[in-house]
């Protein structure tokens, strides 16, 4: 059984919801990424989304754009991110790690080499924002061969036929983008999520995580009631940006602990 499945099964037994924080690898610096990941887990994260920085993050708002720019300036590469996961796994064999980013760095490495490396270092899932199911055949094949879960996004604009298509391909969990926009934008519409979820559940048997626009503990709590996991990205990356290298792990951990408490209430 995969780490992702074990994690969600355990949470279900405990009647708890997953907290899925996102950080960008190499932000604020390369040496701080692994300590940050461990800090996230200690503060109550269930699944980790680790952003692979890309020069042209078209689906991201200014906060994650700046994080990507900082990370690339720090020399972060896909190869380097995989090395960080290997380092993380030395001390944590159970928390699922999902790489999130854009397809081109993987295309440049080659999907087979990438999938093989993912399996070696202990990556559990891969989400490529700009690779919809239509263009994911090759990626899917290589990830499947190495038992890496392809994670897909669904959006408010996704119709039923596409939900069915994603249901067939998705493994691990499905990430529902709760609003039309880039990461970190707008404010969440809870009733719209509530309306959409039954349509998703009809076809998606995997856990459903909801993200985009979750900025505080109260929203995280409200969203958690509707789905299986809460994804928090820009708010955490904002905290990284606002911190110093000395206090970043403590500050981010404090924020994640607050989110955890709110979700568990």
């Amino acid at each position: 059984m995969s780490r992702i499945q074990i994690t969600f099964d355990k949470l279900k037994q405990q009647q708890r919801k997953a907290l899925i924080p996102f950080i960008t690898a190499g932000d604020p610096s390369q040496p701080l990424t692994v300590p940050l990941l461990h800090g996230l887990v200690s503060a109550g994260a269930d699944v980790l989304e680790l952003g692979v920085p890309f020069s042209d993050p078209m689906a991201d708002g200014p906060v994650i754009q700046r994080a990507s720019e900082r990370a690339l300036k720090n020399g972060m590469s896909l190869r380097g991110v995989l090395g960080m996961v290997a380092e993380f796994r030395k001390q944590d064999a159970t928390t699922p790690v999902v790489l999130m980013g854009y397809g081109n760095p993987i295309e440049a490495m080659g999907w087979e080499v990438f999938a093989q490396r993912c399996a070696e270092v202990g990556v559990d899932g891969v989400l490529t924002v700009d690779f919809p199911p239509e263009e994911s055949h090759e990626a899917f094949e290589h990830l499947q061969r190495h038992h890496i879960a392809p994670i897909f996004l669904l959006a408010p604009t996704t119709n039923e036929a596409r939900i069915q298509q994603v249901a067939k391909l998705a493994r691990g969990y499905v990430y529902y983008v709760s609003l039309k926009g880039v990461t970190g934008s707008g404010s969440i519409d809870l009733s719209a999520i509530e309306d959409k979820l039954p349509q998703l559940r009809k076809h998606i048997k995997l856990p459903i995580g909801v993200g985009f626009g979750i900025r505080d503990a109260a929203t995280a709590k409200a969203v958690a009631k509707l789905c299986d996991g809460v994804v928090v990205g820009s708010r955490i990356v904002q905290e990284v940006e606002n911190s110093t290298e000395q206090n970043v792990v403590a500050n981010v951990s404090k924020l994640v602990r607050e989110l955890r408490q709110a979700i568990d209430q």
Partner: protein
């Protein structure tokens, strides 16, 4: 028979719909609506009317005789897209997409622009059809192309400076896509070149094919036959595909695309992914030859002409290169400038710096060819917008 893209939007291994999920239903709707209206007699008639009465088509073909004589070789003919309303080929596509936007009930249009010509064309058609218009333009390009920024504002558009990344065309594209994902239901993205997610490469090509279709009629009228070579500059490649596509299945017509060589291919500071054999990658919704580093990060490009300063190229050009139907070469900044000067002095025509690249290649090969050979160069735009750039390079303060 040459018939691309396939039904999923692929030109061989190139093209596709590499977009975030939120936008996939939007590009799918666009595809369906385009296919519905493409062959609709009313749509075709309205498009033809606008091209004739608003743009001023057909654009003439002109024999650049003094320039040709000075070179002592092949005869250079120019397809005068510079004479179109708004001064470039971009208006052909902007009108086509605006007519589609109108039928789809979209009241807000957005666009990216590099040199500003597509921005001006979009602002123009938005004014013409009463639509709100937002144009994203790199902060660096706003500096380089100040007159076009003012034109867009006069036409009622909002010009949004893009400060991220290299602050040029690719970053303007990123920002326009971010706008679209946020306002997907109200907004039509008038994409400026024959690239991006399907159906854009096909749709933009179809709208621009008026260039080549006219030329195929005009050349026999002028010289009794088709040209030996057709030449056009290639950034994203919309003017080029518009000229080339109707000639793909015409035997004995050589096709040459001219990319921006910047400071030279060897310098690494250029915008010539095809000439430099750039690796295939994914950006802005399609799989194409793409200037990138070994880690798959997109690298900054350089060209004297903002309109060619882009790390990718349309998928159909990638295919035409791969199957050997077209040849792609690069012209450096200084060669383009020399061609710019030549056309000014020999023919009294001030070309856009983009088009000067195509012209420079014609000037380079004409002397190696017999005097009865004919080169047809797409003069895709006029150079009024480039006065500041050219003056600065010549050390002149305006």
């Amino acid at each position: 028979m040459y018939n691309y893209p396939d039904s999923s939007g692929h030109f061989g291994q190139f093209g596709g719909i590499y977009m975030a999920e939120t936008l996939i239903p939007a590009v799918e709707e666009l595809r369906q609506q385009y296919l519905r209206f493409r062959d609709d007699p009313e749509f075709k008639a309205e498009f033809a009317y606008e091209l004739k009465h608003y743009v001023g088509r057909p654009s003439p073909i002109y024999h650049a005789k003094r320039l040709s004589d000075s070179l002592g070789g092949a005869q250079i003919y120019l397809k005068r897209e510079d004479l179109n309303h708004t001064g470039a080929h971009k208006i052909n596509n902007a009108i086509g997409q605006a007519l589609l936007a109108k039928r789809m009930g979209k009241k807000r249009v957005i666009a990216e622009t590099g040199a500003g010509m597509h921005g001006v064309a979009t602002a123009t058609v938005a004014a013409r059809f009463g639509m709100e218009c937002i144009v994203y333009m790199g902060a660096e390009d706003i500096q380089r192309q100040a007159p076009n920024v003012f034109r867009m504002k006069l036409l009622g558009a909002t010009v949004v400076p893009v400060e991220s990344g290299s602050k040029t065309l690719k970053d303007a594209c990123n920002e326009a896509i971010r706008d679209w994902v946020t306002n997907v239901e109200s907004t039509f993205y008038i994409f400026g070149t024959a690239a991006g997610p399907h159906p854009y490469p096909m749709m933009v090509r179809d709208f621009q094919c008026v260039i080549g279709n006219e030329a195929k009629v005009q050349m026999p009228e002028m010289i009794g036959r088709q040209p030996d070579v057709v030449i056009a500059c290639v950034g994203g490649g919309s003017n080029a595909i518009g000229l080339f596509h109707p000639y793909i299945e015409v035997p004995n017509v050589q096709i040459i695309g001219v990319e921006a060589g910047g400071f030279g291919i060897a310098s690494g500071k250029h915008a010539a992914p095809l000439t430099a054999n750039a690796k295939v990658g994914v950006l802005h919704g399609n799989k194409v030859n793409l200037m990138q580093d070994e880690n798959g990060q997109i690298i900054e490009t350089h060209s004297i002409s903002a309109g060619l300063d882009y790390p990718g190229v349309g998928p159909e050009h990638c295919l035409l290169k791969e199957i050997g139907r077209a040849q792609y070469v690069a012209i450096n900044d200084d060669e383009a400038l020399a061609a710019f000067d030549s056309l000014c002095r020999f023919e009294g025509i001030i070309p856009a710096l983009e088009s000067s690249h195509a012209l420079a290649h014609a000037i380079k090969i004409a002397p190696t060819m017999a005097k009865d050979k004919v080169l047809l160069v797409n003069l895709s735009g006029r150079g009024d917008k480039d006065m500041n750039t050219v003056a600065r390079i010549k050390g002149i303060t305006l």
